[in-house]
Subunit: 208 residues, 2 copies
Amino acid sequence: MEKQKISTAVINRLPAYLRLFSELEEKGVAHVSSNEISEMMGTTASQVRQDFSNFGGFGRQGYGYDVKYLCEQMQSILGLDKTYNLVIVGGGKIGQALANYGGYDKLGFYIKAVFDKEVWHVRVPSHIDVFDTEKLADYTAKNKIDIAIICTPKEVALETAKKIKDCGIKAIWNFASQEIKLDGVHVENVHLNESLFLLTYKINSEQN
Amino acid sequence: MEKQKISTAVINRLPAYLRLFSELEEKGVAHVSSNEISEMMGTTASQVRQDFSNFGGFGRQGYGYDVKYLCEQMQSILGLDKTYNLVIVGGGKIGQALANYGGYDKLGFYIKAVFDKEVWHVRVPSHIDVFDTEKLADYTAKNKIDIAIICTPKEVALETAKKIKDCGIKAIWNFASQEIKLDGVHVENVHLNESLFLLTYKINSEQN
């Protein structure tokens, strides 16, 4: 596939495409048209075709796209045909919840260790190691870690991100309620409450 | 404020505006221009002014907008000047994590009870009640509940949503990995993994 600059708007839509294709595949749908995709995505057919053209077009035939092929391609584009090693920095409630959740393994995301300043407070499954935060650089020097999850208090989130970057980790999934932007490392900030606030907006407005 | 039809795109940006205004207020910034807001939001100044015009414009002066006033107004628009009673349906790992997190009280979101088919598995703080899912209708008839959080397995998410709607609850925050759309009830579907998949996309692409 030819490398080209793909717009952020297109990239941000990729996970939603994957979700849709996976749902269709689960339902046993074999083919889908750009019209049908656009209706389910709340966009236009030409937008869908334009998005797809960034990735070679996904081989549309007369009867539409092959759903299984769309799934495989989108998985591959998103890097979900590989596995990743993760660490959690910050073993408070959110960090422990993620470590205890256990649903990521089957997606190929392996949480290897939790780092916290007070290791004795951290309760996680026994296959996940718990270390003092000071051991992070040591640990990542000896273990290949692809993604760090920040679950610290907001006050130390940015300095934590800088330490993670210094350890050579290339990606941060940030759950701290402090937006992080840092050159040289990919950061995704999780804003869980935003969807909750959209609910309260809707409860209070007359709109549906 | 005059009621008017506000576009979904504008509504979806409101929580991000609130986050920005809150950050500015915390930093002690008193005034901000639409230019500055647009830069921080990654949009244009005319877009910002157009968004704000849906809500009366927020009284821009020569020196820009008053940050404290913006915060108060956005809180009020999003309904965050009120409190809400919540129940969690599904007391598995995600449901327990949300109940144990404890950070919602200070935002005015009170988790009152968790419903599960196997109540003996559910470990939550003692001020949160745990009931069999069959008691949901009874409970909501006696207690005013504003929002239900669905944390069930995906297979039963939609039927759970229908039960919640039948109980007269007007809003659903859905953590099940099954998209829910249901007429007559506001639903926000949480897609936590989508931001993780954007990270793996970025790790695997050459883009920053």
